[in-house]
């Protein structure tokens, strides 16, 4: 056995435990679920397992529920630009040489490593329609009456007046409701999180002489941001956008499970939660697998679009 072969085998031996784990716990379930998506598999003995072709997919695309939950999933991603912008803003502020930046970085990052369930319980209290600090603030500071303040997690209203039971617009639904509450909470969690750290690292890597050159050219604060900071952070922004899309399309499960149980009236049920309820509460494993693969396809397609068009604006 040559030295090269021995080296290769040694490397493979070190990689093997992780690879075996990946195959067993990730690759195999994914491949298995792809096969299951074309069957009628339930956990009910009386339903014989059968290949049903595209039936699950046809049922899904003709189901009002699927489209409503798809819209919910997209709706909850509306906070993404604000979260990214907020992270960038915080990173710019915290990259300044001022006292206490380490303390502030830690404080802003706290929500990221706090248990999700604890955060959701906290925000449920904040959103209490009568005694929660948010509505009390709205009443005390802005003079709103109790009827004018949003009901938050109990309300089906939303800023786009989306109807509840069918795809469409219902003007009576205009307002702030459960979906908006979850968006606001999501922005608060995300602003000081991993994206802020990525931006901090990106900003630290911007050559100082670019700023000096821009100052010489007469650029002010906004000019420096627009012509130096923002272009130099393009790769970081691109990465954050791609990952945020992926995370956003998969998200919403924890919030639905802990805060709202998918309600009120299904308005906070996302595709991820839908997959869970279909698989583990209604035992339609085949159908749930089909939904999961459609979600994967959507995520993959959007990621490809991001790569194709977004990368144009990225200069390395």
């Amino acid at each position: 056995m040559t030295r090269r072969t021995r080296t290769t085998l040694t490397a493979l031996a070190f990689l093997m435990p992780n690879f075996v784990g990946f195959c067993v716990f990730m690759l195999w379930p994914v491949v298995f679920s792809f096969g299951v998506a074309f069957t009628n598999w339930t956990l009910i003995r009386t339903v014989p397992l059968q290949f049903v072709g595209l039936e699950n997919f046809i049922e899904m695309f003709s189901s009002d529920d699927f489209w409503l939950y798809f819209i919910n999933t997209g709706y909850l991603m509306l906070g993404m630009p604000f979260a990214i912008a907020g992270s960038l803003f915080l990173a710019i502020v915290l990259s300044q040489k001022i006292k206490g930046t380490v303390v502030f970085r830690t404080l802003f990052y706290l929500p990221t490593f706090t248990a999700g369930v604890a955060l959701f319980i906290l925000w449920k209290k904040l959103y209490n329609p009568q005694f929660g600090p948010i509505n009390v603030l709205l009443q005390e500071v802005f003079g709103l009456s109790a009827e004018q303040t949003p009901s938050w997690l109990s309300s089906t209203r939303n800023v786009f007046a989306l109807a509840v039971e069918q795809v469409g617009i219902d003007p009576a639904q205009f307002g702030l409701g459960a979906r908006d509450a979850i968006i606001i909470m999501g922005i608060w969690v995300a602003v000081g999180g991993a994206n802020m750290l990525l931006y901090l690292a990106g900003i630290a890597n911007i050559p100082r002489d670019l700023y000096e050159a821009s100052e010489i050219d007469g650029a002010g604060v906004w000019g420096k941001f627009r012509h130096v900071t923002w272009p130099q952070l393009a790769p970081t922004t691109f990465f954050i956008v791609v990952m945020s899309f992926i995370g956003g399309l998969q998200g919403g499960f924890e919030q639905a499970r802990v805060m709202t149980e998918g309600g009120p009236a299904g308005t906070t049920t996302t595709l991820a939660y839908y997959i869970y309820t279909k698989a583990f509460e209604e035992f339609q494993i085949g159908y749930a697998s089909a939904v999961a693969w459609v979600l994967f396809t959507i995520i993959f397609a959007i990621t490809l679009v991001n790569w194709r068009f977004g990368s144009r604006y990225v200069n390395y």
Binding site: N40, T46, N128, S154, A172, E261, P264, F280, F283
Partner: protein
């Protein structure tokens, strides 16, 4: 290269042994209790403990000389190790679940532990074999542990262990399908039972019950759908309940309103509720006249509206009686303003966990009255609720179109089932047999964990008047509402979780005043009937049964043949 494999093998071996060693062993309660007595009650270090020794041990700890060991024997002068000892004794030997250990509790423990029957506890009484452990997935309510302890005492060769962490139908089914399910688990309604049976997880106990002489005729009929499926028996009820109205006597006294009586109607209840509703200076309601988990099912039952037709082939929530029932529930919130809306309820609520929601609100006096069950006493007996002066009365009567007054309510409760794959079926059946017996049923009634599943035990003086709680003069109410209670009959042609999902959406809209009762019922019925059709398209066995039912004259779930199952 050789070294890598050797070290890899050693590492894996160490990890495997470590994982095996770290597995918790079943705890032998008998051995633990015996060791406890030999350590603490053997005053003369003779290696033996007699009944006299036990009594002397109890007297030594009974600091307040009331004849029992309780937390009243602990005060600021009690040494911490003695306080810990008292806590442990209460935890191990409190048979009645009232925080007191009596001499007779020690006597029973002595009999239980004296294996060789020589009248002394010695090393020779240590059990030779570990008891057979059976796992029960159930909720960890305040009185559950006492129910289990009693069973373990009566069956020394079996140890029943509670597993509250794996509750949830999805967990039980997935774990059971994966071969790691519990021996016993609970079904909370007929849908769950149907799901367990159709998944092949619930064991058919019909023949076993017959051999053991366990008759379901002795049970409250309202809960039979939770343990029987298509004529076969799959479990035994754990307890049974039907809702009545709790009221806070102090609030009634303050307002100068007479207490409600069993012949009251909803008109009177609404009037009283409106009088007892209180608002703060901002006009926000801080105390509702009546609260209670917005029980729309109760309204359906009282209006004699059913979810499905008799054969379960069609959802009939689009019928006038269902529309009236649902509209009534909406009116209680938005027209009469005596019950909280969803946001008002979430605004008032502050607690979580077992028995939370309306119970917590009532305990916090956010409601003058509350619709709830006798099982609330498991929490309301706690000293933190001592400020409440409780009364109970039947659900207000509903005048019907035919001139009668309806008190019809729905019965609910849990049934305990045995896993088809259990390796300890005999021991598990022992547990269900224990649930049918006097010790368990009397304990349930004494603990007020709803009512005992076997009817006869709720027709005793012991049930009506618990000497430990003489102020509970309303036990007759809980029995009488159960006599009027009907069972919720599911449809075998649709998954219960699907029904629940559809109903949750409609009820949310109804409660939020976004839909009328008629519209909510109609839309719920339409969607549920569509799901029935889809279920029939997927399940050939169900489809066959469905069409057999249609041949017998049942109404189909579709009005147009074009909508019939393909």
């Amino acid at each position: 290269m050789k070294h890598i494999f050797i070290w890899g093998f050693i590492t894996l071996s160490i990890l495997s042994v470590g994982a095996w060693w770290a597995q918790p062993e079943p705890v032998d309660q008998r051995a633990e209790q015996l060791a406890f007595f030999l350590e603490y009650a053997d005053h003369d270090q003779s290696g033996t403990v007699s009944p006299t020794d036990l009594h002397e041990f109890l007297e030594a700890l009974d600091r307040n000389n009331d004849g029992v060991i309780s937390r009243n024997d602990i005060d600021e002068t009690t040494p911490w190790d003695e306080a810990e000892l008292i806590e442990r004794i209460i935890d191990e030997f409190d048979e009645q679940g009232d925080g007191q250990v009596r001499p007779q509790d020690f006597d029973r423990a002595f009999e239980f532990l004296d294996r060789d029957g020589d009248g002394l506890l010695t090393e020779a009484d240590f059990p030779g074999e570990m008891p057979t452990e059976i796992i029960w997935v159930s909720d960890d309510n305040p009185v559950r542990r006492e129910q289990i302890r009693l069973f373990n005492r009566l069956h020394p060769d079996t140890q029943l262990t509670l597993d509250p962490q794996n509750q949830g139908m999805e967990k039980v089914i997935v774990q059971s399908v994966g071969g790691v399910g519990p021996d016993l688990f609970d079904a909370y309604d007929a849908y769950q039972l149907s799901a367990y049976v159709r998944a092949g997880i619930a064991k058919d106990l019909t023949d076993i019950f017959e051999e053991r002489g366990i008759s379901i005729d002795a049970l409250w009929p309202g809960l039979l759908p939770v343990i029987t499926h298509e004529g076969r028996i799959y479990g035994h009820p754990t307890n049974v309940a039907a809702n009545a109205v709790w009221y806070n006597k102090r609030i009634f006294d303050e307002a100068g309103i007479p207490y409600p009586t069993d012949d009251w109607t909803w008109d009177e209840a609404i009037e009283i509720s409106q009088q007892l509703t209180r608002r703060n200076e901002r006009g926000v309601i801080v105390r509702f006249g009546i609260i209670g988990n917005w029980d729309w099912k109760l309204a359906l039952f009282q209006h004699h509206a059913d979810f499905f037709n008799e054969e379960g082939t069609r959802c009939i929530l689009d019928r006038p009686e269902a529309a009236r029932a649902l509209q009534f529930m909406q009116d209680l919130v938005h027209k009469y303003e005596v019950m909280p809306s969803a946001e008002e309820e979430s605004a008032l609520a502050s607690a979580g966990g077992w028995g939370a929601g309306a119970l917590s609100l009532f305990g916090a006096e956010r409601g003058a009255m509350a619709i709830g069950g006798r099982w609330w006493l498991c929490s309301l007996r706690d000293e933190s609720y001592d400020h409440l002066e409780l009364g109970a009365v039947r659900i207000p009567g509903l005048p019907m179109p035919d001139g009668t007054i309806s008190h019809r309510v729905n019965a609910y409760g849990r049934g305990t089932l045995i896993n088809n794959a259990s390796e300890n079926v005999e021991e598990a059946v022992d547990f269900l047999e224990y649930m049918h017996g006097p010790e368990y049923n009397k304990l349930i009634n004494r603990q007020a964990d709803a009512l005992a599943p076997v009817r006869e035990y709720s027709y005793t003086e012991e049930y009506l008047h618990n000497p430990d709680f003489p102020e509970e003069d309303y036990n007759e109410v809980w029995r009488s509402v159960l006599e009027d209670a009907a069972a919720e009959i599911p449809s075998p042609f649709i998954n219960g979780q699907t029904v629940q999902r559809i109903l949750n959406v409609q009820m949310d809209l109804l409660r939020a005043n976004l839909k009328s009762g008629e519209a909510a019922g109609r839309d719920a019925a339409r969607r549920i009937n569509e799901e029935i059709v889809r279920t029939l398209e997927r399940d050939p066995e169900l489809r066959e049964k469905y069409f057999e039912a249609l041949e017998r004259g049942a109404e189909p779930a579709w009005d147009d043949e074009a909508d019939a199952p393909r």
